[in-house]
C-alpha cells in the first residue's frame, strides 16, 4: 500500500475504535437497539467525513484527540441517514455495502429507532468533548445540526425524492448534491476549524469540502457510465436507463471529467491558506476525484 492508503486506513481505524464507547447501553432490556446501531456503524465505509474533520482540526493547530467525539458523531449521523434512506418507504434497498440493510437484519421498527438513536446519541457524544472551549463546542453543535438538518442533508434528501422520475436542470441537481452529500462533508471541514478555535479559516475549509464533495458525486455519475459492473454492483448505464438525474446524463462523460478536474483543482487551491502540511488533504482530493476512470 502507498503511504496515503496506509494513512487513510489508520485514520479510519481510529474512528472505528470509538464506536463501542459511543453507543453505551445501561440495561439488557434494550440491548438489541445497541446491536442494530453498531451493526450499521461497523458495516464499513471510508470514514471520509470524520477523517476530514480530524485533518482540518490538526491543520488549524488543534491539540491531540480533542476533536475525536465530533468526528465519531459525524459518522453516526452519516450512518443514521443511510439506515433511514434504505427503508422500504424511502429507497427500499435490501443491501448496504454488500450486507443486509439494517431493516433487513433487525426489522423495520428497529431500523427506524436505531437511526433515531444514532442521531440522538451523536449530539450527546459531541457534547462530551474535552479540551475544547465550551463556546466552540456549542458553535460546532450548531453547525452539526445545521448541515444535517432542514437546510442541509435532509433538505437534499427531500429534493432527491421530489425529482425522481422528473427531468431537472443542472441547478436543481447541483443543489441536491450540495445538500444531500455535500453538506455533511462541509460540516466536517468547518467543525474541524471551529474546534481548533480557527473559525476564520473555515471559509477556505468549506470551499475545499464543497468542491471535493461535488466532484465525488459527479465521479459517481461518471462511474455509472464508464465503470465495470462488478465494481459498481449494478448494471452499467443504469442511471440513464432509469431516467435518473445525473451530471453524466445531463452533460456527457467528457464534460463531467473536465468539471471534476476543475473542482478538484479549486479545492486544492484553498489549502494554501493553511499554514501547515496539506499533503494528506491534497491526496484525499485527488483520490476522491480519481476513482477508476
Amino acid at each position: 500500500m502507498s503511504d496515503f492508503s496506509l494513512q487513510l486506513t489508520d485514520a479510519a481505524k481510529k474512528i472505528e475504535n470509538e464506536f463501542d464507547s459511543a453507543v453505551k447501553c445501561h440495561s439488557d432490556s434494550y440491548l438489541s437497539l445497541r446491536e442494530a446501531m453498531l451493526y450499521s456503524l461497523k458495516i464499513g465505509g471510508k470514514r471520509i467525513r470524520p477523517i476530514m474533520l480530524l485533518e482540518f482540526f490538526k491543520l488549524c493547530g488543534g491539540n491531540d484527540n480533542a476533536a475525536i467525539n465530533f468526528a465519531v458523531a459525524l459518522e453516526m449521523i452519516h450512518t443514521y441517514s443511510l439506515i433511514h434512506d434504505d427503508l422500504p418507504c424511502m429507497d427500499d434497498d435490501d443491501f448496504r455495502r454488500g450486507k443486509p440493510a439494517c431493516h433487513k437484519a433487525f426489522g423495520e421498527a428497529n431500523a427506524v429507532l436505531a437511526g433515531d438513536a444514532l442521531l440522538t446519541e451523536a449530539f450527546g457524544f459531541a457534547a462530551k468533548t474535552q479540551g475544547v472551549k465550551p463556546e466552540n463546542i456549542v458553535k460546532a453543535i450548531g453547525v452539526l445540526s445545521k448541515f444535517s438538518g432542514v437546510n442541509g442533508m435532509i433538505g437534499g434528501q427531500i429534493i432527491d425524492i421530489a425529482i425522481e422520475g422528473k427531468k431537472v436542470d443542472a441547478d436543481v441537481l447541483k443543489e441536491m448534491y450540495l445538500l444531500k452529500t455535500g453538506a455533511l462533508i462541509k460540516a466536517a471541514a468547518k467543525i474541524g476549524c471551529i474546534l481548533a478555535d480557527r473559525e476564520d479559516l473555515s471559509v477556505h475549509a468549506e470551499k475545499f469540502a464543497e468542491n471535493i464533495g461535488l466532484a465525488f458525486q459527479i465521479v459517481d455519475d461518471i462511474l455509472d457510465v464508464c465503470g465495470d459492473e462488478a465494481t459498481l454492483g449494478k448494471p452499467v448505464n443504469s442511471d440513464a436507463k432509469n431516467e435518473k438525474n445525473t451530471f453524466a446524463v445531463l452533460f456527457g462523460v467528457e464534460k463531467c471529467k473536465t468539471i471534476v478536474n476543475e473542482l478538484t483543482n479549486s479545492a486544492i487551491d484553498e489549502l494554501k491558506y493553511f499554514n501547515a502540511d496539506t499533503t494528506f488533504l491534497t491526496e484525499l482530493a485527488l483520490y476522491l476525484a480519481g476513482r477508476k476512470f
Copy 2:
C-alpha cells in the same frame, strides 16, 4: 377558567409562538419538509414538558427568556417521537389528536424525514441559546441527548415493542414507563435547573418529574378502565381485551389510584427544596394525577 388553567394555556402559547422561527427553510425546493414539521408541531398537545422546563428554570432563579430554546427543542423531540411512533412499521396509527397522522397527511417518506429533521433541528435550536453560560448549554445538550436516546425515550420504545403481546411483571412495565414517557419529563426538570446554574437542585427536580411522569402514565391506564369512550377516543377496557400490559391490568383500579396518590404526594414533597413559589408545579402535579376519575 381557573387561574391555573389560564396559566397553563398562556405557558403553552409561549412555546407555540416559537415554532415558526425554530423551523427555518432557506429554499423553496424543500419547503414541504417545513410544512410537515410545523403540521405535527402545531397539531396540539398540552406542552407539559417545555412548560415544566421553563418553570424549573424560573424556580432556580433563571432570568427572562433564556431557557425558551431548550423548551421548544424538548417539544420538537417529543413531536418527532410521535411522528415516528405513528408510522406503519411502528404503532401504525392513522390519527394523532383527531387529525391525520403525519404520514397520512404527507406520505411515509416525508414523515420519516420530518421526524429526523425535528430531532436534528432541536439540538441546533438549543445550541442557539443566549444568556446562559456556554458550559451549561453543553451540559444541557448532553442531558437532552441522554434522556431522548438509547438509555432514555428510545430504549423505552424498544421495550414497548418487545413486550407487545407478552405478559410482563410490574418491574419491566415500570422500566418501560420511566423511559418511554418519563425520560423526557425528567429531562425537562433537570435542564431547567442546569440552565439556571443550579444543577445542585436537579436531583429534587428529577424526583418530582419521575414521580409525576409515572403517575400520569398510570392515570392513563386507569382511564382505559374507568373513562368514557368519547373522551378516550377508543372503547373502554380495550387494554385488557388487547392483552396490553398496563398497571390497571396488573393491579386493578383501586390499587392504581393509591399508587397515583402516593407518587403525586412524593412529587410535591420534593418541591420544598426550592426556595420560591411552587404553587404552579403543585397544581400541575395534581392536575396530571386527577384527570377525570
